[in-house]
Every structure is written in structure tokens, then in C-alpha cells.
Amino acid sequence: MRFEKMTKVIALTGAVAMAFGLAGCGGSGSGSSASGKDGKTEILVWSWDSTLPRTVKGFEAKNPDIKVKVTNVGTNKKEYTALNNALSANKGAPDLAQIEYYALPEYATQDKLQDLSDMGASGYKSFYTPGTWDSVNLNGGVYALPMDSGPMALFYNKEVFDKAGVTEVPTTWDEYYEAAKKIKAVGSYITSDSGDAGFFDSMTWQAGAKPFATSKDGKTVTINLTGDPKVKQWDDYWQKMINEDLINTKIPGWSDDWNKGLNDGSIASLLTGAWMPYNLLSGAPDASGKWRVAQMPTWEKGGTENSENGGSSLAMIKTKDDSKSKAAYKFLEYACHNAQGIKTRVDGGAFPADNNTLKSNEFLSMTSLKDANGKDNAYFGGQKFNEVLSQAAKNVLPGYKFLPFEVYARGIYGDKMTAFTSKSATLDQGIAAWQKDLQNYAKQQGYTVKK
């Protein structure tokens, strides 16, 4: 008797649970199912870029048989973690993924990405800027298409520069150092750096350093930071800036304090990628009209050397499903190669990686940014800022290579660079410690390490 009642309760609980299950299934029909009910091929794109979802409408109008779902699964490192999880579980990986240039070699050497040269991307060399094409063209294959780029430029607060008596924009690093002293005298810092690996890469790249290399078969990796004279050159310069307290080492980039500093002029310039304008507009709105853009200072008077900072590509995850990879390639082409697709994204604030846009009159003659409400904002005081940034893109030095485990390398950089927080440590020591860790890590991962 008693047992009978208990079994009834159990059966009832089971029934309720099952009913929940059915309801749940009805609700979660989407996801990464192979192809939709209406015969459409559905492709899943992982991207945190806010401009990519804008292209979906235009693409779907042209390709009614394909449905694109863009999902933000987390920004940069978080997405890579999710991607690694999905790849190791063999389930749930997207068809296309936004991968920054620095992380691309990692996935390419692991053989996770589709080589696009077979699909028709091999002839695109002249379409993209040399810096970005170089970043996706690895060991003879094309492992992604450039989505945006970030040639370095000097963004500066003209009002603070004028107040400090820096009327000529510094064009060499010596002039930048002199400017830093004058700006310090009026109570601001010329810039901030609390140990950012991406910044280190960009600055040594600009100096002409090539500390990292990977062999063609992907088995041997060269890590030579301490032996590279150009790394040393930047290192000594930056150490001098830290020693004389000319840069703010306390404020980490992208923090609220950092935005405050950019907003109120206590951080007076930025050496950063060409995608910065829209970040300035939303992060430091009060400084509108005060900022200007110039080419990066160089080591020799009259030099033009430049490098990239940030920038992302769109890569295809390897799949055996032919119809999916064809559909995915179509979207990839639309977002990164088709003029209309690129325009949609550039209008949304992306900095282009293709020469056509960089040369176009409409782009070059822009004097204002569109704010969140769609209103024009002359953030750079009416300057034709894209002329400067477009030139900066042309000046990028080719041939710089990232490590095949750059995500890891960047993750530990800050821990090694105690020079930013402690007077007793130097950048030299930090870089040596970083190098040692990277070499050990490379060995653990099965690479042959060359110095």
C-alpha cells in the first residue's frame, strides 16, 4: 500500500520532469543545429565585434538560402577559452570565429582552421594592407580574412600639449621624451602603461625587432628577446621614461580610471591602434574637440616605420560538412571582401583592412564621428583623421611574427613586468624572465626551441 503510493509519486515526478523536458526542447530549437527546418543552411559565427551583426541583414537578403547567427560568447581571451573547450569536446564549435591576428597562428598551427586559399582567397593579396595580409598568410596558407586593422598612431590631447608648450607634434622618440617632460611639468602624464603585452609587441615591432619566429613545419620556435638589439632599444627608452616618472604606470588600460584620465587630460596622449576614435568618443566624451591624430614618432628623423596594434580576422573552423563550409565562406567573403559588407562595418566604427576603403574619398574626407544617437561629433576638432590613419596603415613594417602560443605569452606578461610597479626591478629583468618562461612553456608543448 505504502509502496504503491510512493511509486505513484515517483511516476508523477518523472512525468512532470519529462513535460519540462519537452517544453525546454520546444523553446531551444535554435543553437547550432546542422541545417534549419526550412532547408536553409544555418551558420554560426562567434564574434564580439559590434559591427559584424550589422552585415547579416544585407548578406541574408543576397543569400536567401543561408541563415547567419552571430553570437558574442565573450571578448578575446574568453572567446578563445570557449573555442578551446568546444574544440576539445568536439561539439558546439562555430563555423566562423573572430580571431585576433596575434592568436591566429595558434589555431592555424593546431590545424583547427580551414585553409582558405583552396576556396579562392589566395588571390586577395593586393586587396588588403600589407600588415594585415601578412598576419593571415601563414606558412603559405590563408587562414582567415582580415576583418579590421589597427595601424598605430599617436592620438594626443592638443589642449594639454598647447598648455605645456608642446606646439610641434613630436615626430621622433627623442622629441616625445622632451614633450613628456614638459607635460609632466603641467601636472599630466604623456601616456600610461602598466604592462601590456600587446603594446610591447607593437612598440618593438615598430622599432624593427623580430624576436619570434616559427619554422615552416611548425615544430621549431625561436624566442629571442634578450638578443634582439631592437627590443633592447625600446626597452632602454621606456625604462628611462619609467625612471623619470614620465609615464603613468599605475593606471591599467581600459579601466574606468584610464577613461577618466583621457577625459580630463591627465593622460595626454595614446600610442594605439587606428580603431581608437570610437573608443575615445564613448570613453572620454568630455574631451571632444580637443584630441588630434598624428603619425607615430620614429627612431630616426624623417622615418615612417609603423606597426599594428590589435585588429581581428574572421577564420573558418575546419569542418567536414561541405555545404556548411561553402555557406560560411560566402559570409566570410561578404563581411571581409565585399564592398557593401565592408562599408556596413566601417560605418559602424570598424577600421578597414582593405586598400579600396582606405583610398576612398568618402573615408578619407571624414571629419566627424557618429555618436550612439547617430549625431555627428567633431571629436578631432574637424581634422581629417582618416587621412592620417590611412597613411599609418601603409607604413606598417612587414614580416613581424607572433608566437604560436601568443595567448599564453600575453597572459603572463604582466606578472613578469614588475618594473612597472617596483623601482627595484627593470624592464630588462622582466623581459629575461618572460623569455625564460616562454622557452620552458614551448618545450612543454613539444616545440624545439631556438634562441
Partner: protein, 322 residues
Amino acid sequence: MSVLDAEGRRVRAAERARARRVAADERAERRRAASSGFSNPSNPRRSVWLTLACGVFAVYCLFPFAYLLVNATKTQADFTSTFGLGPGRSFALWDNIREVFSYQDGIFARWLANTLMYVVVGAGGATLLAVMGGYALAKFRFPGRKAVFAVVLGAISVPGIALAVPQFLLFAKLGLTNTPWAMIVPSLISPFGLYLMWIFSDQAVPGELLEAARVDGASEWRTFRTISLPLLAPGIVTCALFTIVATWNNYFLPLIMLKDADWYPLTIGLNQWKDQASTAGGQAIQNLVITGSLITIIPLVIAFLLLQKYWQSGLAAGAVKE
């Protein structure tokens, strides 16, 4: 003016006078105790240092909340340009709330609904399972009880984060990642809740009561429902509160399991908004992140205020002479 009004006023005035007398008495008593150096249990001597330490701790605890309240009233421009604990140039709380619910096609409301669902189904289910399991373990003797005890104690000591990745691989095999089930099913198991209910049932439900019920011919189910459940109420509320807070604040599990923004809980969604400011060309929306955070904690505060009277109410433990 009616007679009743006048009467009421007189009663209230008398009541106030009485309260004043009592307060004065207490003050005098405290002064006496302080000057004589003696105190009694109901009027202990106060320690200046302890009071001070408690005050510092209270400030430390309430500071982030005050920061949240102040900054939720600022526009994005004011957030970056005005003092953190001072007011902004304009009062933008209502605009912020409106924008939180309309940004990105109103996805915040969806996240809120998801979180509520995870709490109702996940934490509710966890509480139900913990109550039934804990009660059974405390009140029935069956083989394997000791083993269950060991497993439960062991499970409490394993941090959930350590299990998240194996759980992910398991759920991926089952095809459950990226569905609400990936969030709900792991939330259903609360070793701590089970342990709590076990201990509580042991103390709060006298065996004699169950015996009496059995003698009277009640089924086990009926005994549980009509006799034990009311006695367990304070424990159930405590257990529910723990599981609600754990589910509401869960971050790592959904971070790993869910990749579809439509199923995100608030924690993941807000973090995504926060990260947006640090992406190339991304729009900084700290004002929305702050306001969203404030909205996120309000349901928890309400849950605490509503439930606290239940777990404060007296227990039946020891009500029966043994």
C-alpha cells in the same frame, strides 16, 4: 472631531510617555553599570573598540552598495568625469533604467527572465531534493546511509569550479550545452543544502512524533507532508535562500556551458556589457553596467527581506519531552 479621535490621541500620548520613561530608565541603568564597573547579561558593558571595528566593517560592506546607488544615477559622460561618490551633473537614473531595458533590443529583460527561471527551477528543485533527501537520511535507517554521508561531506569540500570543465565535457556529449538544462541540472544538486537539511531534520523532527503518526496509520508521505514539513519550514527557507543566492550569482558554470546570449543569466550578460568597452571600436556603457548591476541585486534584497521572518521564527526543536 470625535470622541474616539481624542481618546486615540490620549492613548498614543500615554504610550509615548511610557516609551520615554523606559528609555530614560535604561539610560540610567547603563550609566550606573558603567560607573560602577559592573554589568548584567541584558545590559552588557559596551566596548568602544568592538563598536568601532563593527562600524568599520559595516562601512566596508555597505560602501560598494553606496557606490552602486550613486553611480546608477549618472550618465556615461558624468561617470567618467565626476567624483565616484559624488552626484553627477544630471540625475539620469530613470533614463538609465529605461536604456538598460532597451539596449540591444531589450536583451536585459531576457537575461532577467532567464535568471529567474534558473532560480525557480534550479534553486527550487535543489531545495526540494535537499529537503526530501535530508529528511530521509535523518529519519530512516537503510543500508548505505554511512556511504551517502561520506559522499555528501566529500562533495561539500569540492569546489564547484573544479567540476565545471568535466561537467562541460559530459554535457557536450549529452548534447545539453547551450541549453537551459546545462544551467538547471547542475544547480539541482546542492550537497551543502542536503547536509543542512539532514542535520536540521535530525534536530527539528522528533522521532516520537513520527512514531505517533505511524501508530495512527498515516502513510510516510502523509507524515512527511503534514507533520514534518511544517516543522522543517525554517530550515527549508534557509536552504532555499542559500540555493537561490548560489544560483543567482552563479558565474563560472554558465560562462562555460552557455554560448548563446539568449540563454545567458544576468551575471554573464552584464560582464559581456562591461567587456564591450575594452574592445576595438566598442561603445563604453558603464552607466548601463552599473544600473544593470543595481537592478540585479534588488530581487535578492527582496528575497532576503521577505524570507528572513521565516527563518527567525521559533523552531519546534525540543518541543517534545523525550
